[in-house]
Amino acid sequence: MNNIKTIVLSNQEISPGYFRMKILAPGYNKLASPGQFVMFRVQRSLPPLLRRPFGIFRMGFMPADCDNMPPKEFIELIYKVVGSGTEIMQGLHQGDPVELLGPLGQGFDLGEPDEEKILVGGGIGLVPLYMLAEKMVDNSNVSLLMGGRTRDDIITVTEFERLGVGTYVSTEDGSLGEEGLVTRVLERKLEKSPHATVFACGPMPMIAAVQKICLQYDTPLQVSLEALMACGVGACLGCVVKGAGHTDVDPHYLCTCTRGPVFKAEELDWDKDEMTVRTSGGCR
């Protein structure tokens, strides 16, 4: 875990409103595990004041520029433009200075080899699942159920396929893949593979629905959550979610940044639908 001042290597729109940013990130390949995140800062700029949390989509090494130089390490973020911070991010160019705090948080538990793995991604929620798939695909049967509102929200599925992941796409408007919610696909899938483990990331209503289904099939579930974060390191206590056993009289909160962002379903309190991140759009 580190705070590094670094630079953008590339930043491209990959689907309307979705951008993919490659950042020079020495040390990450050794440190980061699937499901972890970074706190990203556009240097010197204010607003935004606070850093923004982003999952790590992928990491790797760039070919060295010349023989004597070590290859350059990078990470890739994929982000959706939703507010003031991501609006500024989309304007960044190669060479622009940025800061990364990370890798942060607890990632996915990879589970047992050979066990079947089902990844469920909703829109931008797909991001943390790619590195997870990379790690698991060698010794497990991995499939990805990818959902979105329209085909614009279906991103990087080909890359999962290239890994050897079986993919199923659904969109709410039917503009790509099956028409409907990804959770319907999940139900069908679990009918056939009740002993799989599910890994889900996406909007809160999707995650809540996935949890209900997994409970019903008694399938182990890990979810990656979003929360408003100020520090990302457990210092501000701003990012909590309700843990299992939470009641109003005896509240029980867990920091998403240090205990998560990935939780086992049983660690969380699923009674309340307030568990949603009330996102903002407008805190200029």
């Binding site: 800062r41 850093r51 705090l101 390191v233 210092a235 206590l237």
Partner: protein
Amino acid sequence: MMSDDKIIQPSLAVEIAGLKLKNPVMPASGTFGYGEEYSRYLDLNQLGAVVTKGMSLHPKAGNNVPRICETVSGMLNAIGLQNVGVDAFLEEKMPFLQRYDCPVIVNFFGNTQDEYGEVAARLDDVPGVAALEMNISCPNVKHGGIIFGTDPKAAFAAISLVRKRTSKPLIVKLTPNVTDIQVTARAAEDAGADALSLINTLTGMAVDVKTRKPRLANVIGGLSGPAIRPIAVRLVHQVVQAVQIPVIGIGGISRAMDALEFLIVGAKAVQVGTANFVDPNAMATIIRGLEEFCRDEGVADINDLIGSLEL
């Protein structure tokens, strides 16, 4: 300046209520956890002191979410003073801090006068606790939830009680949400505070216009960050003029220049809050910046800057 006058290594050391600090920079309570959280990013031994998250007699779970929200050049928080409680703090958190050569200031609060007194008492003989910082921005449950810090009489009574129960240097942290901060400041001094720190957050609110809901579950929260600095500088300026005891300046500090404003109006030290979130290294950069400023301006001892405001 002539070259043989050149200041090679300006002295940044300051003293507050008998407490010797390497330099005047420390974190603000609640923005630095229990020290451990940031120890990977920053050598705690560099700091003037460490200030802990606010501690209460019993563990406190805190408020419902959302607890934070970004505003223009600032943020609102309504954490609800979540903390592990003083006993768990002493057992689980303090040993880590005792390993460092850095004074530990423990921030604490209570919902009644007696709770304040009890926490202070438990911290009194703990080695490594260099001073207590009493947060009086807490609702007084015995008196209808009015904040201790907005009622000079309640503040005086609570501080007097705490004073009796601790032999450690006692810093009282003032709230800015008052008509006349000089009145609270004097009440705290009269009640036996050894130093004052200010400002705590300004109360604020933000609304999500789409959902028409407050952005914080608690509706109202505390505003911090660069946006509030001019208000904080004004309040520190006023308090310095009202009391004899030393003052620690807090509010929107993220650069050495910001810290200098507080020192120049008369603060003996500063606390850095929200800026830690933005840059875990902020305090180290500020310390370096103060050193550089002193060197550039030919100031051999930072104490010569303190209170140097020219009116």
